[in-house]
Symmetry: C2
Subunit: 324 residues, 2 copies
């Protein structure tokens, strides 16, 4: 069995080998650019890992895995327009480096290219792979819509939030594993359990992201903490704090998140203080542990040797422990 | 055999029957809206017509035909953002009625929905249908990119222009016919000839559009003529005029299309006068006739009875004669 890192390397090499020297240049240059910015190549590597785990032919899944990564980058490209994000992976976003129109159209083209690669799956698995991928693609769009809706709503429940991150983040991780298992010709139980593993680990991953944004070692996390607090983002921590706070804490929290004049640094310090008094870090860590355990149970139910599962267990643990 | 109008009616009914009452409402409402605005439903109807012509089972092509129409409307949705167009089919465009973000994300979702429908083609034809559709989808994006590039270029050749409208407009008409023929289990020659028919008729259609924008009976065309002149759009007429003009005509044309102060109405009148002296209308009509004849030759080469071809011949003639 290959390690996740070895599989990532396969993906990195395959993506660098794609020739985007096509016309019109103006359309393909931004696609080549965003794909060259790197990223963890996690989803396609997990796709290959699932295929490898179930004794499938990893080579047969490479094109499809690349399609998943192209799709993921397409969503980043369009999300960055919608979120007016200027930086992605330390570089200017496509709509900043070029403009919105370029980002819209290059994104659309990437979506079609993603399908092109996805459908290189071996003929016998193509319909199944397509169904999983397309359902996932639609769900990712739905997740992004919920995320945008939440910006202007002040009655978002924790349940709604968890469903949003499931759609926006987790289903693509889950779908990647499922597709890899399908191409590896795994039995239905294994395919489904890998999907559920991915869903739970994907939610845990996003909760950890929420946590690290507030409680992290700046040097290790690589960005100044508290960005979500400054932008009033309704994260798990935010929603949980409002659920648990009462009295003065609640008043102050409400004031901090509604004031337009409060200094950003001061706001982060004050909100963090309330989070600490409410033990939000511990509550969030417990929730992450909950999803991690659920993921692990899915893995336990798969009838494969521990050796086969080891790489995925290692990955799940690294997610939980990660500091950036 | 069914008439094109009967096939349109099938498409209209099938589209109205789609249930867009899905969550999140904010994502599906604009999709339902743009699909309810109508339009000629030409591409899906041609898809069904091709299937019917070759003695295929029309019912088996309906879902795929709807997918083509959803894709077409997705391109309109995103093009309207890029072109900052406010009106589509007499109603506010999606990005005007809602906003750019809604239009981007609903469009993305429509693209995934389009694939969902496209892939309802009968199992045996699915891979072929997908290939044709996906190639077409990428080409349509390329065509839109060329169109945007041309806005800021002043050395666009007529050949480049014809290739742009082929990609942006004609290949989807061609692909629709080809896909219908594939689902109808036609032989390769018929499939290819129907594609070529569509490509030629699609180019003729766009040239006719260019022509009608300048030389049309306002009452019949439904919009004030000369819009392309006012916006300096590099249409076939524009490019041909610059090719043919010399001396004073060329100077005036250059001046009219570069001045930022000239009155719109006056500009249209003056440009039309030059077009008339250069016989641009006749030249364009000859070019339309050229593509029409090429399309007709493709149809002649298909080994089917005249009766089977009659509806498509009628459609081609109506395109040539149309006044709106």
């Amino acid at each position: 069995m290959k390690t996740l890192e070895e599989l990532r390397e396969i993906i990195r090499n395959s993506i660098s080998a794609i020739d985007f020297n096509r016309n019109p240049y103006e359309l393909y240059e931004p696609i080549s650019y965003i794909l060259s910015l790197g990223g963890k190549r996690l989803r396609p590597a997990l796709c290959l890992l699932a295929c490898d785990m179930v004794n499938g032919n990893v080579d047969a899944a490479i094109e499809t895995a690349i399609g998943i990564e192209i799709f993921h980058n397409f969503t980043l490209l369009h999300d960055d327009i919608m979120d007016k994000a200027e930086i992605r992976r330390g570089q200017p976003t496509v709509h900043t480096k070029w403009d919105d129109n370029v980002a819209i159209l290059s994104g659309d083209t990437m979506m079609a290219l993603a399908y092109e690669y996805i459908m290189q799956a071996p003929v016998g698995f193509r319909s199944k792979v397509f169904s999983v991928f397309n359902k996932t693609a639609i769900e990712v769009c739905e997740g992004q819509q919920y995320d945008m809706n939440f910006e202007t709503r002040d009655d978002v429940s924790i349940e709604e939030y968890l469903n949003m991150i499931r759609l926006k983040t987790a289903v693509l991780v889950a779908g990647s594993l499922k597709i890899g298992a399908i191409i590896g010709d795994a039995d239905e139980l294994t395919v489904d359990k890998l999907y559920n593993f991915g869903e739970n680990i994907g939610i845990a991953f996003q909760l950890k992201d929420d946590l690290l944004d507030v409680f992290s070692d700046v040097k290790k996390f690589g960005k100044v903490s508290g960005g979500d607090i400054v932008s009033n983002k309704k994260t798990y921590l935010y929603l949980k704090a409002f659920e648990l706070a009462s009295g003065d804490d609640l008043s102050l929290l409400t004031k901090l998140f509604s004031s337009k004049t409060v200094d950003a640094k001061e706001k982060v310090i004050n909100v963090k203080e309330i989070y600490e008094s409410l033990k939000i870090q511990q509550v969030t860590e417990a929730k992450i542990e909950f999803y991690y355990q659920r993921a692990k149970t899915c893995l336990d139910e798969i009838k494969l040797s521990q050796e086969k599962k080891a790489e995925l267990v290692k990955y799940a643990e690294s997610l939980k422990r990660r500091e950036r």
